[in-house]
């Protein structure tokens, strides 16, 4: 009886005939799509930023960006927002996550409530808090009603820059904490119960337990959450616009403004490239900071 031997086919025929043909084929659309819509624009943005309107290469766009009166402010504001929002949200989300994780009766309902802001856009969030912080808004109503202040405060005016800033921080925290919450909660649920129980058994108080056991094991999730949160913070745009208009310049808005209103795609691209660079820099920092050594988590 004839025995058939299969000879190894030469590459790339091997790929086509091999068992890899189907999965690679299923992946191809995604790979192509994402390459075209991410890799290509990135290259384009960088390229654009180094061009002038007539196509010649140079640093003109960057010069105009740095010399823009709003540049220093927008850069500073973006960074400040980041520094303010990220820690607040992380602590808040961690608190919420730990609460939910303790599985008290009714925790399911509370989870849904906390998660509601997930589906709210930054623009809508900005408007929501606009109704609260605006001169005739709800915050002033409550404060004067309680007698804390006599006259409504102009929270959102240029004179009260700190309050403006605070309003943006509050609005963004309110909206995006749910994002961090969901990531942290998923990470919490992965920690085997035994670690909590062992810590409790050995006498650790709740606070100690959290600091010494939970947080280290949560590193990968924290890393994830912080990276994503930071990236969104760099793109902060609509919230600021809704609450502060142009009074609080941020990098995201400047990019939009140069493109849309000034019709200068080169400078806009310069801003975009700057944001991209900042994003990569912070992502790498987070990856370094939260690097989990192999075996550290018993994986």
């Amino acid at each position: 009886m004839a025995v058939r031997a299969r000879r190894a086919l030469p590459f790339p025929a091997a790929i086509v005939r091999s068992e890899a043909a189907l999965p690679l084929g299923l992946l191809a659309p995604t790979v192509i799509f994402l390459s075209l819509l991410i890799l290509v624009p990135i290259a384009q943005a960088v390229l654009l930023s180094f061009q002038a309107a007539d196509g010649t290469f140079g640093l003109d766009a960057y010069k105009r960006m740095f010399n823009d009166t709003a540049f220093a402010d927008s850069f500073r504001n973006t960074i400040l927002l980041l520094i303010a929002i990220v820690p607040i949200q992380t602590v808040l989300a961690l608190g919420m996550a730990l609460l939910i994780h303790s599985r008290f009766p009714g925790h399911g309902i509370f989870l849904y409530i906390y998660a509601i802001p997930l589906a709210i856009s930054d623009l809508a969030a900005g408007i929501v808090w606009l109704s609260i912080f605006t001169d005739q808004g709800y915050l002033n109503t409550i404060l004067t009603g309680l007698g804390v202040i006599k006259e409504p405060m102009a929270f959102l005016s240029y004179e009260n820059l700190q309050w403006l800033f605070t309003a943006v921080v509050v609005a963004e925290s309110w909206r995006a904490t749910a994002l961090v919450l969901v990531i942290l909660l998923a990470g919490l649920q992965l920690i085997p119960r035994e670690y909590f129980e062992a810590a409790e058994l050995f006498g650790a108080s709740r606070v100690k337990r959290t600091l010494l056991v939970v947080l280290p094991m949560l590193k990968p999730s924290l890393q994830s959450a912080l990276i994503i949160r930071t990236i969104f913070a760099f793109n902060a745009f609509a919230v600021v616009l809704a609450l502060a208009g142009r009074q609080l310049p941020v990098l995201g808005y400047e990019a939009y403004d140069w493109y849309y209103n000034n019709r200068n795609s080169n400078v806009a691209a310069a801003f975009a490239t700057l944001i991209l660079a900042l994003t990569i820099a912070t992502t790498v920092t987070y990856l370094r900071l939260f690097r989990v050594r192999e075996g550290e988590l018993g994986k």
Partner: protein, 350 residues
């Protein structure tokens, strides 16, 4: 004709060769068991037969058709999976009917055959339920029914009993054997449990590291293992092996001397003897009892013979105690001589 033939079947996963040119013929209507420890390739061989893995060399035949390149649906096989793979989103009736419907059988015939299969496996009361409402044992029966009703000439089973608890497994084993008697489909059955293999198989292919080490009937495997591995794998407790050397027709061990196989002067050998084939009281083995385990129907002794410990089966009412010296006699025609170097059996049985 529904015989199965593997010819020089080879399967490679990355850097490992899971199947090394395996040859095996399963006769029409035979219940063939593929037995071996995990990783030996038995499941891989089964999946190559099913068409769920593509082979890298050789041929697979069902009847006289070469099915090596055919997808599972064209091979006319039926399979019972280890996890049962009962479709959770369909009722039991629809699960059993699935194969028939895929073959576009007329509705009346589908109904008739599903009812027959359900009767055969006592599933009639559950036809309208969803798998989630069934116990593990019941789901297993659904998987078997689903495979049987398709009338496929070859039935494949991948450790279908291993997820059942011990008592249920006993019962299901007998049921499957009875079923095979009634339905008489060529069956290829994979298991790592040698008791299942001995109980159910017409013939057993013992596999190890991608190759068939011995292909024989259960009793032949039990009495005449081809090597140390088979001898240790089959039977519980496993076969004992004692070191000895041949000298002038005698096998001389550390604590014994017995008549040995002829013509093997100077060879380092292993004397293989099963625990239940050793008599206590008198004989050529000198030993000391280490442990006595009363197991109800018999007693299991752990005995030191020289420097080696062996197991011996004694009657339940034995008076032997730990630390007692005793003499043992292996039944001469049950001894299996092995070459110490290669581990393979030395002489043909008397």
């Amino acid at each position: 004709m529904s015989s199965v033939a593997f010819e020089s079947v080879r399967k490679i996963f990355g850097k490992t060769t899971a199947l090394k040119d395996v040859d095996l013929v399963v006769r029409d209507g035979e219940f063939m068991v593929l037995l071996g420890p995990s990783g030996c390739g038995k499941t891989t061989l089964l999946r190559c037969l099913a068409g769920l893995e593509r082979i890298d060399g050789g041929t697979v035949r069902i009847g006289d058709r070469d099915v090596s390149d055919l997808p599972p649906r064209d091979r006319h096989i039926a399979m019972v999976f280890q996890s049962y793979a009962v479709f959770p989103h369909m009722k039991v009736y629809d699960n059993i009917a699935f194969g028939l419907r895929m073959r576009k059988k007329p509705k009346a015939e589908v109904e008739r055959r599903v009812k027959e299969g359900a009767a055969l496996l006592q599933l009639e009361p559950f036809l309208d339920r969803y798998p989630a409402q069934l116990s593990g044992g019941q789901r297993q029966r659904v998987a078997v029914a689903r495979a049987i009703v398709t009338d496929a000439p070859v039935l494949l089973m991948d450790e279908p009993l291993s997820n059942l608890d011990a008592l249920l497994r006993l019962h299901a084993r007998a049921e499957l054997k009875r079923l095979h008697g009634e339905v008489k489909r060529t069956t290829v059955y994979v298991t790592h449990d040698q008791i299942e293999a001995l109980s159910m198989g017409d013939r057993i292919a013992v596999m190890r590291e991608g190759q068939i080490v011995q292909l024989d009937t259960p009793s032949a495997l039990y009495d005449r293992p081809a090597d140390v591995f088979v001898g240790s794998f089959i039977g519980s407790p496993p076969m004992n092996f004692l070191k000895c050397r041949a000298r002038n027709g005698t096998a001389v061990g550390e604590a014994f001397e017995v008549p040995g196989p002829p013509g093997m002067d100077g060879k380092e050998m292993l004397l293989g003897i099963r625990p239940e084939n050793i008599r206590t009281g008198e004989g050529p083995f000198r030993g000391r009892v280490l442990v006595v385990e009363p197991l109800g129907s018999h007693a299991l002794l752990t005995v030191m013979v020289g420097n080696e410990s062996i197991k011996v089966v004694a009657p339940a009412d034995t008076t032997l105690r730990a630390d007692e010296e005793l003499r043992l006699a292996p039944e001469p025609h049950k001894i299996r001589w092995m070459d110490a170097a290669s581990g393979k059996a030395l002489v043909a049985p008397h």
